[in-house]
Subunit: 393 residues, 2 copies
């Protein structure tokens, strides 16, 4: 084992983030930049995101760096600059040429694959677009990674792979069963990645490919600076952004429609496991570090790999606590001062009463924790919304 | 309803067959040509097939036509000519241009999508190639069909979608669970097709797309003329072709290795449901006819559609009778006169003891039957092998 001399810093590792400009992508990139260990390359087609997010992430990281170290090194400054590529993942030629352009710069060390279409309702209307953008694009990305001997992948999965879970809290070993087109695209991608990890190389060697699938519960909030946050194109689909938009006045609904209050939960409304976006982002950085061969973390994580040849592991990223729709409304009422009116209407097709992670595995093996509380999530969300009533536009 | 005047024949319907030159494709095309109702368009990349198969199918159909009608019409003769395209389904530009070239000729009426990689063992070695060729190619084909308003699909599925079936004989409603990479590609394609059938169009109209998935059990035999048959590239993977090659001398193994004789079956060896390739092919033609809107068959088939918006239906194509490895060896011994020696070795990973179709649904709704017996399958296979010891080469 070599120890880096503090005067000759280790080379930055090239990490490709797909969907880098999105809500999750931008916070993941911010968290990566803060480590000053990675050169971040973003691929995004800006279908549901904005290039401005990347500019802001970059200046945020640079300003924090200058605060902490008045004379940062050139390498440190370089580590705050993002290589930005506008590119569609379903275009293999474009993706291949990006991989190719880093070949002479040490290659791409690892990929964090976040890009995907994610609206459950829309997925049932345009399923082929979802299968092409989520599944076919992932197959193509994996093929290109294999061509370029890029062997480390963090995959953005979701609690949606559990469908209607048989038990709460949900353990990672729960059977996977997509309950919507979107959900099925996530299950299929996990299966494909797992099969790839499992495959035997031509030369009979073990596949060096390693993948960690992160199953997100409900990310919320924003960076406390209010520089970056969630900007859904069109009307917000999710509860927290919708409440923020109602409070700031960009959604003018007089009442919030609550879909059912007769679920078998404490107050009858649906319960979800919310975690702060920066905690979620931190999970990605830990997972990426776990792909470092020879490290203690690597050994720990893949000791229980479900893949027989290569290395595949899935982790829940959640707090392990549930919040009901009504609790969320109350928390946002406190954070915003807005007097939300609610109206209970019928249940919405496809809604599951309760989705709560069992976070034990991620805690034990990755040391992952999601300490920020609901109050912080609401405060940071509101700060972002007030500073950017129309988001990045 | 209009009745076609016998003097002015109905226009031939353009039917695209993917994987048209393969073992199943060539027999399906032969059976289509015999109806003189279709203009057949073949797409194949000849990865596991030979262009010669299509030439032979065409002359076979023409010679049979001339035997039955000494002065066939120009339209009848045209119906024996296959439009042959060498094309890879994973190349959307090439596929799109083929669809485009028929736009002025009435468009493509329906698609029989057979092309796929199919070796279970290989699929675990090169999973990404399987996912790309089987799953991504199917997504792309469906997208192109949608662009060109082509709304009728017959999909080549397989008994492999049942994995290790919980009950024998296997009903279509059995849960789907791929037990190999190959099996998972088939399950995923069925799910994707079903979701597409289920989707609501932009204009709120019902999706006019109709699909029938045919779940093959074990096709065997050849056309009795010996003109067309199965020509696996490399060493045959399946039992019957292997036995035929051993008898003809192109495989020189002194003994047949039998993988396990301690299964819970009558003689302890694995049991499969073999059906004659021409019976299987006939099933495709009936299924294609069932996609004719307004027909009695169409109404019958989709009355029990599992899709809530469009029309999706899956049928087993099998005889409903099982044959053990030892019974197959005996039948081939009779057909070939070859004195097979067998040696029982250990079970093979992934083998299921028994796979037998419940053929009741296909019989009741499609009127499908598989009358040809094992003796006929072995005789026709042997006839093909003797006339073509090295297949199409």
């Amino acid at each position: 084992m070599t120890t880096a001399n503090s005067n000759t810093p280790e080379l930055l590792k090239n990490v490709l983030v797909t969907g880098g400009a999105g809500y999750i992508g931008s916070h993941v990139i911010y968290t990566l930049l803060r480590t000053h260990k990675y050169k971040v390359i973003s691929i995004d087609n800006y279908h549901n995101s904005f290039p401005a997010a990347l500019t802001r992430v970059s200046s945020l990281a640079l300003s924090e760096l200058k605060e902490s170290s008045p004379e940062p090194s050139a390498q440190d400054i370089d580590s705050t600059v993002i290589d930005v590529h506008e590119c569609d993942l379903i275009n293999p030629t474009a993706v291949r040429s990006i991989f190719s352009s880093y070949a002479s710069k040490g290659g791409i060390w690892g990929v964090i694959h976040i890009a995907a279409y994610k609206a459950v309702g829309e997925s049932s209307e345009i399923p082929l677009t979802y299968y092409a953008n989520n599944v076919a694009a992932t197959i193509s990305l994996l093929q290109i990674m294999q061509e370029f001997h890029c062997t480390r992948l963090i995959y953005s999965s979701s609690a949606t792979v559990y469908g209607v879970p048989p038990d709460i809290p949900i353990k990672e070993e729960t059977r996977r069963e997509g309950d919507s087109v979107y959900g099925r695209t996530k299950v299929m991608c996990e299966l494909i990645i797992e099969d790839f990890c499992d495959s035997i190389m031509n030369d009979g060697e073990t596949n060096p490919f390693q993948a960690i699938s992160l199953r997100y519960f409900n990310p919320a909030g924003a960076h406390p600076s209010g520089y970056i946050g969630e900007h859904p194109r069109g009307r917000p689909e999710n509860l927290l952004p919708l409440l923020a938009h109602m409070a700031v006045g960009t959604v003018t609904d007089p009442v919030l429609k609550v879909f059912g209050n007769d679920y078998p939960t404490a107050d009858g409304t649906c319960v979800r496991d919310y975690l702060h976006i920066l905690d979620l982002a931190a999970g990605h950085v830990i997972a990426l570090q776990a792909l470092e061969e020879g490290s203690e973390l690597n050994a720990k994580v893949f000791a229980g790999s479900t893949s027989s040849n290569g290395k595949f592991k899935a982790y829940n990223l959640g707090k392990g606590h549930g919040m009901s729709v009504m609790q969320i409304v109350d928390a946002m009422r406190k954070a915003t001062g807005h007097d939300y009116k609610t109206e209970v209407i019928g249940r919405r097709r496809g809604d599951v009463p309760e989705l709560i992670a069992d976070p034990a595995l991620a805690r034990a093996e990755l040391g992952f924790d999601a300490p920020r509380d609901l109050e912080t999530m609401c405060r940071d969300l509101w700060n972002w919304q007030v500073k950017n009533p129309t988001g990045y536009e």
